[in-house]
Amino acid sequence: MTQLEQGKSRRTQRGAALLIAIFSLLLISAVAIALIMMAGTESAISGNFRNAWQAFYSARAGVEEGRGRLWSGNPNTITLVSGFPTVGSTTLPVGTVWYITNPASGETVDPKTSTNNYYDSQYATEWGSAIGSATVKPYVSSIASLSGTANAPYKWVRITATTERSLGVDVDNSGGSPDNNALWFDGSQIMAGTGTGTSTVPPAVPPAAGSNWFQVFTVASLAVTPGLNGGQRIEEYTVANQNYNLNFPGALTLAGPVGTFNGANSNPYHINGADGSGSVGVSGCAPTSNSISAVAVSPGLDTANSSGLDNQHYVGNSLPRPGNYTGATPNPAPSPAIPGNPSISATNPTGSLSSPAMLNQFVDTLEQNADGVMQPNPAPVGDHNNSGTTYNFGDTAHGWPSGMDANHPKVVVVDGSFDLGPNTGYGILVVTGNFIYHGNSGWNGIILVVGNGTTTFDGLGGGNGEFDGAVFVATTRDSNGHSLSNFGAVNFDIAGGGGNGIYYSSCWVNKVSQIPGLKLLSFKEIAN
């Protein structure tokens, strides 16, 4: 072949290489794209799952923030209404909405505005009217649970009153469409409608001040996880405040047989079972017209001394000034009648106070939630031991909590005896040994002297203070610390006199009986 011909042949084949190259490239690209698509589909599927779960737990984080911040003891508590969470006339009206917002950096979360990405369209589903028609309070900012780290990607937390309609449950089985009246929680059940407020009849709306009813709230949270495969969840808690629901039969209750009872000789000394406001009132709470006994003792023969009398008559006959013991009239009336007709009933305590086992369990709960536990260092093995040591009021070095005042009552558990001295405290005081006071001393709230051996409540010469709330004295363990099946003997000695009487106050009892945190009543995930 001549050079000319060779050149001519190459010219005629010109372009074939390009075509072949393009064809090959297409083939390889198609295979590669198919592989990438497959891998992409699989990673998208697992990504969807990851995002769905992230959204689920993020929404849980949101409702937990809402629930946590409804507790009055939370440093970042949200005061829904003035006086919250005291029951009574201060309630969160139906139709008033609070939001906690938690925007990511650079975004705006505005759930009441329909053009916002995180508009709360779900509100209308629950309440029948759009969020625009509700009274929306100024948004509250989320608090970072770990300082310097962004919270989980929940966008908002909505807090409202709960009604049958919002809950989607006909609470009282009244038939028809669930109504939009506020719901209440009595410590064991949710109640709806109106009524007298007893445990079996739905309460008045709102319940009477000083009762143990708490408004029920709905806390809902929207979580949206970022990215193309972002998940979205709305979860909802129904919560209510709760208290220990303690029913004291008397302003002073002596459970078990009474060993010695030395009443005060001083005329200013009174024990009064009529519900009063105490020397320091509780904001937002007015006393009821109810009365309990001045002193409640156990029915039956007093086996802790040789008087041969029952507890009621032994104590009644020991009172130097029976007219100073006022309150509910004993029912049934003591027979024979006690001179001066003091208000002394023979009544067994109920609920958490009913037996040594129940009381020990209750003290365990209190200890877990206590603001301060006074005990030896290192802490004794076992729970609420009577260490044999006497601790003093205000001894922060041994566990006394700081910041106690009328507005900040505390729960203090003392593993040993306690000397209140000439001081006044606020809250729940649990003493596992003996209790002593002297001088101008007093307490607002509840004193539980729950000791070993023979428990003694001892006034070593009093002054001008008052014990407002309720005092309960019982022996729950023997001298070796073993739990008793029945209450052991107790002593009460205030022969030292003074004016430090005991005055029942339901406002103080309820105020200090609040259990930290709101109780979770129900949980549901809202399909959206």
């Binding site: 699989e42 009282d172 009543l521 129900s522 549901k524």
Partner: protein
């Protein structure tokens, strides 16, 4: 002038028979090789697709089970008035997180001994799904190698009896309670799957704060699904198995 013969021949001639034959043989060999690769890839793709599909279904199933457990117990008894709770005729209105049999709801059985359900292979949940149908029973039961599911409105009857005839296949090739020979086959490839060579419960109920192992004390449920792909691995000829686990808790109050 006519071109020289030699030159004309070279210019006008086609392929020789030999050239054609060589080209054809080469073409067949190369095409065969390409097709062999393509067919192998397709077979592999199909097998992988089945494998992924089986495990994807298991993923969806365990997700649904965990969602059902999370939502179980709504609405709880606590949200009803005492007057409602006092009448057993109303019992279909509220939801316990976990139903049981026998003696439901009057007295509780003990898991692992007197309970027919709940157990390692059986779980009945109660919840309102928010679809307007009220409280429903959702039952999962492993029957042979098939996980079955039933969903029906709660009644005042026994939850096991009511749901027995409603169970439908939900997920196949669940090997948790496989035969001894299947367990041995799987263990050969995946030694840790069946500890001690024993079946692995689909549902297990960790004891809660020392409370008796009774349905009303259930707070957490561990779910495990051991799922086998329908075909064997083409290269190793071994079975392909994946284990899916989840820990779910009943958020609603138990009572």
């Amino acid at each position: 002038m006519r071109p020289p013969l030699k030159t004309r021949k070279r210019k006008d001639s086609g392929f020789t028979l030999l050239e054609l034959m060589v080209a054809t043989v080469l073409f067949i060999i190369i095409t065969g090789m390409v097709f062999a690769v393509v067919i192998a890839t397709q077979t592999r793709y199909k097998s992988e697709k089945e494998y992924m599909s089986a495990f994807q279904q298991a993923n969806v199933a365990i997700d649904q089970i965990v969602r059902d457990i999370h939502g179980a117990g709504f609405p709880a008894k606590i949200v009803f008035n005492t007057s409602v709770l006092g009448n057993n005729a109303n019992s279909a209105k509220w939801a316990l997180p976990v139903a049981w049999s026998p003696s439901y709801p009057t007295s509780s059985c003990v898991i692992g001994t007197t309970c027919t359900t709940p157990g390692s292979w059986d779980l009945i949940l109660e919840e309102d799904l928010g679809d307007g149908n009220g409280v429903v029973w959702i039952r999962y039961q492993l029957s042979g190698n098939v996980l079955k599911r039933a969903q029906t409105p709660k009644t005042t009857g026994d939850p096991k009896t009511v749901t027995d005839g409603l169970l439908q296949p939900y997920l196949e090739n669940v090997m948790n309670n496989a035969s001894a020979s299947d367990i041995a086959t799987i263990t050969a490839s995946y030694p840790g799957t069946f500890p001690g060579g024993n079946p692995v419960p689909v549902f297990s109920f960790p004891q809660y704060q020392g409370a008796p192992q009774a349905p009303p004390n259930i707070h957490n449920i561990n779910v495990a699904l051991i799922v086998m792909a329908p075909g064997k691995d083409l290269q190793t000829q071994r079975v392909r198995v994946a284990t899916f686990t989840a820990q779910a808790s009943t958020v609603n109050p138990n009572q």
